[in-house]
Amino acid sequence: MTDLITLQGVNKYYGDYHALRQIDLKIRQGEFFSLLGPSGCGKTTLLRTIAGFEETSSGSLHIDGRDMRGVSANHRPTNMVFQSYAIFPHLSVGENVAFGLRKDPRGKAEKARAVERALEMVGLGGYGGRRAHALSGGQRQRVALARALILEPKVLLLDEPLSALDKKMREQMQVELMRLQRQVGITFILVTHDQEEALVMSDRIAVMFEGEIGQLDDPETLYRRPNSKRVASFIGLMNFLRGRVTEVGAQIEVEVAGLGRCAVPAEQAPAGAAPGDMSIGIRPETLAILFEGETTDRRVVRGMVDEVVYYGDMTYYDVRIEGVEKPLTISMKNLIGRPVLDVGTATRVAWDERSLVLLAG
């Protein structure tokens, strides 16, 4: 795949505030790319920089090989779905969708057909004549999509497009956005603070903190091998333990507080890991409570149930283990015949050295 968007050394200041710090980023043709991070991390600023609503303070931005310096938003091959959707309230649905076609040389009838096709694509066939402000949130979102996609941009930018919708609607739109993206084949760049949304939808995700990109990877790598403590704690649940690297080789020898000596595969550690103190991460679902009579060939440590949170399909246990600073969170599927333990129960926990992640920072 070729690179469609290239950012090099992009900085953005608002007065003294450094909103984007030295961003280097390549976004590929046809991928579903997400900018993920907590509020104020600069993800929206980065998106608006690509759209042409913010100027960069330094650095360069190329889209499809063209330098975007001095190119205003209306001349960029990008279109945007705004967080508020920005549906023009004084125009009908059809007029909203046709808004960008003013300079299109096609005839009136042909444009009308294009509008109808775009509306059908987002599941709003026949809505062209409706007033815009009578639409529901989900429908507005679809109009915004149709309005942007009808112009066949090289990149579609989505600024938290699902945050205003309720949970059910959000999940439905997630699937629909992925379908749309595959159908039209153009690059989508999504800004979101919802890690689940990013994991579900994206080909690649850039996690941003304080104006910097913390990690850029596909969803699975991001989840399995976060490169730092802040990425690990932002994406999914993660237990953190204290550890000490003693030897670096084909495998990395670590002394983990409470768990003892372990050999961790080298790819589970950041490049250039050296002997010394490090944080160790372990996901709740890679730990398991051993119920009465169960045996395992994995390593086992003893502990006591400190807290039980029942979720229906799952139960989350906090288990206190001697030598471990904070109780470990363990998630267990509620299979048939499996009891829910009480607080205070002594228990055994199975774990695996292959599921340990060494974390920088």
Binding site: Y13, G15, D16, H18, E55, S57
Partner: protein, 290 residues
Amino acid sequence: MRKDSRLSDEERRTIALISVPFVYALLLLALPLGAIVLFSFWTQDFLDIDTAFTLDNYREALSGPIYRTLIGRSLWIAGSVTAVTVILAFPIAYFVSFHVQPSRKSLWLFLITIPFWTSYLIRVFLWKVILGYNGVLNTSLQGVGLIDEPLTFILYNANAVVITLAHAFAPFAILPIFVALEKIDRSLLEASQDLGESKVTTFLRVTLPLAMPGVVAAVLIVFIPTIGDYVTPRLVGGPNGLMIANMIQTQFLRLNNAPLGAALAIIAMICVTVIALAFVWLNRKWLRSR
């Protein structure tokens, strides 16, 4: 860290836009006010202006008994008008904000603002008709038999000025208070009652402090222009109800003594500013001390 000191495009456009009305205000407000200040340090010599710097105008304005009386009376009347107007206005603003259905609020505001937009001169004159010796009020009261002799303390004195101006500035007082009351999150009042306050103490401890910015705005927006009112004292004030604006007008248009008029105008403005600032400061102090 390198700071980006360039102006962004957006900032440049904003500055360009706002400079249009700003330059207009500079030319037509700042410049003339500057000229007034300058004039107040000069003297009128028949038809010519003597541009030698002098404080004589201020000395005369501050020592002449007539000027001192007028300034004192103007401040007193403006203060009374402000107090009366704001005290009368608060319950109305409260009523519209808290007791009127949301869909009918704008109708009420509309009704309140309409009299304000009808000819000021004629409105003031009509108060003369209402309050006069043979006026509407006296003839009605006599007709009903409540009084035998017409009331005379309500026209051609300071009382008449206060009544008329309280009427003229009513919407100016109601609207800012209403806006402040509207901003109050209603759940705060429920929270206060939930925490054991009665309706009255909730009003005193929650509603009133939160409405204070509106009250302050109302006080300033009534007090400041009232000082400079010319029409009302002239029409209903009688000789003992005249205010400083009438003297300023006399100096400028009748006695052709612009420098003294300018000095009077500046003294009036300084008094207003000092009182307004003191009021805002006291109010802040009061709100903070609670």
